[in-house]
């Protein structure tokens, strides 16, 4: 993320930012809340789940605005990526077949996992046992296979 300059020296964001400004503000407030909630009573691995979830939602929001609804311009999209409103690496995965709903990048990382494989949330529902309820360790995802 580039350095934040003083408001007087900042260039204005590209056209169309004012349309989505409010919703982005809601996301950033949510993120702040999630960051500030105490994690004393929660298992250690769950502490970061809300952070992952909110960042996923926000990236998804921008992704959909640009690629599906075509609501924002390319300049604005790039500006948003540059300013850290969305995760460009995650969005890059969503464009690939089989990764359309990927929850986070950690869940496709095979290295340094127990069985050298991806996360359980990548397993399609059809291949899981009947009524098996899963929530993945890294981000609390309940399943993000494309076929679900």
């Amino acid at each position: 993320m580039p350095a934040i300059r003083a408001a007087s020296k900042r260039k204005p964001p590209p056209e169309g930012f004012s349309d989505i400004e409010e919703d982005l503000l809601i996301f950033s407030n949510k993120m702040k809340d999630a960051q500030n909630t105490p994690t004393d009573n929660i298992p250690k691995h769950q502490a970061q789940w809300p952070i992952f979830q909110i960042s996923h939602q926000r990236s998804r929001y921008i992704y959909e605005l640009y690629y599906e609804k075509e609501a924002i311009s390319k300049q604005l999209y790039e500006w948003l990526l540059k300013n850290g409103y969305a995760d460009a690496l995650l969005i890059a995965k969503w464009k690939k077949q089989g990764y359309e709903k990927l929850c986070c990048l950690r869940c496709v990382q095979t290295k340094e996992t127990n069985f050298n494989s991806t996360c359980v949330c990548r397993v399609p529902k059809a291949q899981l046992k009947e009524n098996q309820d899963i929530q993945c360790v890294s981000c609390g995802c309940r399943g993000c296979a494309s076929s679900d």
Binding site: A7, S8, K9, P12, P13, F17, S18, D19, I20, E22, D23, I26, Q57, R60, Y61, E64, L65, E68, K69, E70, A71
Partner: protein
């Protein structure tokens, strides 16, 4: 076709029942609770801490725990009222209900409900669908003079048709002209005007409580209502207002009786009740209609098309609307929402493209004129008004803002005469096409509005001044705009004319050249011919030789 209800009748249904209590459902559709040991029954859900009837404080707590009950909703209100009116009637000893009289002290059914309107059921002569005040309904056969809570099987198609018509009308797809509803119910005494009644009924349709018992076949054999008509004193102990006597729940109504009641009710008929939303949707709408309805809903609630779906769901504003349930899966809703937002964003884009670009300086300058004083330095001014929209606008750089502010403050200090002269100069610089005697003072061209000279004069002095100036101007040039637009084409035309002329010149030159050459050619030819002739003559030498030559010379 299943007609199911989305209505949850008992608000306190969460707590488990204490020992000895059982839950039952009255033919009216309300659940009640019966204790086999103490032979008590109540509409109020008993709580484990207090067996039997619950004290007033408890009931208050119960109500507290259900803040979401909307009392303006008749069906909910009915259930709600029943909760605390019922325990009073528990002492009343009444016989069971037909064959189902297993539970001895039965609570009376809803005491305050009464018929409100009736609709002739299409295709079934003599049958009417009667709606009660609280939105319940029953079938009434005028010929047999009998009423049924449970709607007989043969009437179902007709009623479905009515419902469909009503839903369509509600959705505004098939709007029938509004009628004066306060008068309508009185007309219902005329039993002949069946068609008219049907129309009325469709309109009057209020909220509905689709209890599961709605289509249950229970003949209204209840004796509760009858004694009043017969004038017999009731054996029951009555604790409530005597006015309610004839309004007892399911009654066997005669035609006149209903009509009289409806007429009485016509006076205090309030529109609120029939604007109420329906509490159910039946899957009778076509898919297309349902989608359109859902889109209308999104439009009506001013949903921001840029907002994420999660926000819409979290806010939950649209849940209460009946149109929310026309689509029955969340997935289909989301799909429609996506489609809608895409359309909406496109529309917005187009509209914005059509709109002229607004100079961000105009609102800022207007704001400056309002707020700027020489008493505040720029940093102070900025801090004081940092929440204001013109100060936050990102299209204008802070640097420019500061510059304009300083300049403006400096100009305010100048004498009035200078300011007026400056303003006049500014107005004069505007072409007549934009500023003329047809211009309104509050619709000046942006060229003027975005200039500092325009705001430096006080509004009270400035506006009359500008008005005076405008009146002194000539009318707009006839084709002023036209000229401007044509300028480019004119230029192109001129160019073309020039080109054509050049071409003609060249052609003329070429032609002349050709002519000249031809002339030259002819001349040459003529000379050649002369020469040839001379030569010929020279060749013709006669016998006389030189003499003949001399003779010729002499002769000439």
């Amino acid at each position: 076709m299943s007609l199911k209800s989305t209505y949850k009748p008992s608000p306190g249904a969460l707590a488990p029942l204490p020992l000895g209590w059982t839950e039952h459902r009255a033919p009216t559709g309300h659940t009640y609770y019966y204790n086999a040991e103490t032979k008590e029954s109540t509409y109020k859900r008993p709580v484990a801490t207090s067996m039997g009837p619950v004290g007033p404080s408890m009931s208050f707590l119960q109500h507290q725990s259900v803040p979401a009950v909307n009392l303006s909703d008749p069906a909910a209100a009915n259930a709600f009222m029943a909760q605390y009116t019922q325990p009073q009637h528990q002492s009343g000893h009444r016989g069971g209900f037909g064959g189902r009289g297993g539970f001895q002290p039965r609570p009376r059914p809803q005491p305050v409900d009464k018929p409100r309107s009736k609709v002739a059921i299409p295709g079934q002569e003599g049958w009417f669908l009667v709606y009660t005040k609280y939105g319940r309904r029953f079938a009434f056969n005028a010929a047999k003079n009998a009423s049924y809570w449970r709607i007989p099987e043969k009437l179902k198609p007709g009623i479905l048709e009515l419902d469909q018509a009503r839903i369509r009308q509600k959705a505004g797809i098939d709007p029938t002209p509004e009628k004066d509803t306060t008068v309508e119910p009185k007309k219902e005494t005329e039993s002949s005007a069946v068609d008219q009644k049907r129309e009325e009924g469709e309109e009057e349709e209020g909220a509905h409580d689709y209890d599961s018992s709605e289509y249950e076949e229970v003949e209204v054999t209840d004796s509760e209502g009858e004694p009043d008509e017969d004038g017999n004193p009731t054996k029951r102990q009555r604790t409530e207002d005597p006015n309610d006597q004839q309004n007892d729940g399911p009654v066997e109504f005669t035609e006149e009786d209903i009509a009289a009641q409806l007429a009485a009710m016509g006076a205090d008929y309030d529109e609120v009740e029939y604007n109420m939303s329906e509490e159910h949707e039946e899957p009778v709408l076509s898919d297309e209609d349902a989608r359109e309805l859902f889109k209308d809903l999104l439009n009506d609630y001013n949903i921001n098309p840029y907002s994420p779906w999660e926000k819409l769901i979290e806010e939950g504003r649209i849940f209460d609307d009946p149109r929310y349930t026309v689509l029955n899966t969340m997935r289909s809703r989301k799909e429609v929402w996506e489609e809608w937002s895409r359309q909406k964003i496109q529309e917005l884009k187009e509209r914005r493209a059509k709109e002229e670009k607004k100079d961000p300086r105009i609102p800022y300058l207007a704001f400056l004129q309002e707020k700027a004083t020489p008493k505040l330095y720029w940093p102070e001014f900025k801090r004081k008004y940092k929440k204001e929209d013109p100060m936050k606008d990102t299209k204008l750089l802070d640097k420019d803002r500061e510059k304009m502010y300083r300049e403006h403050i400096n100009r305010i200090k100048l004498p009035q005469a200078t300011l007026k002269a400056d303003l006049k100069k500014l107005l004069e610089s505007v072409p007549l096409g934009l500023l003329n005697n047809q211009t309104m003072v509050d619709h000046l061209p942006p060229q003027v509005l975005s200039d500092l000279r325009y705001i430096s004069l006080d509004r009270k002095i400035r506006d009359p001044f500008i008005e005076g100036y405008i009146q002194g101007l000539p009318p707009p040039p006839e084709d002023g705009e036209q000229q401007e637009i044509d300028e480019a084409t004119q230029k192109a035309r001129d160019d073309r004319r020039k080109r054509e002329k050049a071409m003609q010149d060249r052609e003329r030159a070429v032609a002349e050249e050709k002519r000249r050459q031809e002339k030259k050619l002819q001349f040459e030819r003529a000379r050649l011919r002369d020469e040839e002739r001379e030569l010929e003559r020279a060749m013709q030498v006669g016998k006389r030789g030189l003499q003949s030559q001399l003779v010729k010379e002499k002769g000439s």
